[in-house]
């Protein structure tokens, strides 16, 4: 098999807008649907395969679809590049912070039952605190993937 030479990675081409109205309109129509499916995967992590990481990947897929079809410039309206690193840091902070608070409250790392939230059963607390942790994971994965894409284009 002779390798075919490929002019890969047209940086300017990746940043520009796709010209074809079919791709354009379909991406704009499908991006909200993909977002809602990603949020569903995130919220139903207990019952179905999924949870934070998979939900984050689907959210990032939606944003990247917009980045690729509308062009980097216009899609800043939906997910600004300057926000991604911040969001990723906030997500990691949520994850680690919850774990550390549990340690200070007398439990192990990420031991949700010990979180100092009043008027909550530990059983309920375990149920809802895991959603909180997943929120951190989702934010981190989504923001990191989008920022990797942006940084690759800047290089």
């Amino acid at each position: 098999m002779t390798p075919t030479r490929v002019d890969a990675c047209h940086i300017e081409g990746m940043k520009s807008q796709t010209d074809s109205p079919i791709i354009h309109v379909c991406a704009r129509g499908l991006a909200p649907v993909i977002l809602i499916i990603g949020l569903y995967v995130f919220f139903h992590g207990h019952y179905s395969p999924g949870g934070g990481f998979q939900g984050g990947v689907l959210l990032a897929a939606s944003f990247l679809l917009l980045r690729m079809t509308l062009g980097t410039q216009i899609s800043q309206l939906v997910m600004p590049s300057r926000l991604t690193i911040t969001l990723s840091a906030i997500g990691a902070l949520i994850f680690a912070g919850t774990g550390l608070v549990a340690i200070f409250a007398g439990g192990n790392f990420l031991d949700y039952g010990f979180l100092p939230v009043p008027w909550f059963d530990p059983a309920y607390l375990r149920n809802y605190a895991i959603l909180f942790i997943e929120l951190g994971v989702t934010l981190t994965v989504m923001a990191t993937l989008v920022s990797i894409y942006d940084d690759l284009l800047e290089a």
Binding site: T4, V6, H10, M14, A27, P49, A61, L64, L65, M68
Partner: protein, 93 residues
């Protein structure tokens, strides 16, 4: 009847699994880059059905539907990304 359908789904999964391998020849051979991409896209489409068949075989269809929906989404975004990323100049053919 249930045992019949279990066997039927198993053979269907086998059949789709074999069909899945045929486009790989195009991925390997393809004279142009786009033939390879087309083969990859075709494999991705059939994977949706094989994931659903695994769901029917294991009796957890509601769970596997989410996987296959996510796979369909990532396949579509992947094809769009590939068409955006790869560009060959006409002299290379």
């Amino acid at each position: 009847m249930d045992t019949f359908f279990d066997t039927f789904f198993l053979y269907m999964a086998l059949a789709v699994g074999i069909i899945l391998l045929i486009p790989f020849y195009r991925v390997y051979k393809g004279p142009t880059l786009f033939d390879r991409l087309l083969g990859v896209a075709a494999v991705g489409g059939k994977t949706i059905t094989i994931v659903l068949l695994f769901g029917l075989i294991y009796g957890r269809l509601d769970m596997f539907i989410d996987i296959s929906l996510g796979y369909a989404i990532l396949n579509f975004v992947g094809v769009i990304a590939m068409t955006k990323y790869f560009k060959k100049s006409a002299s290379d053919y």
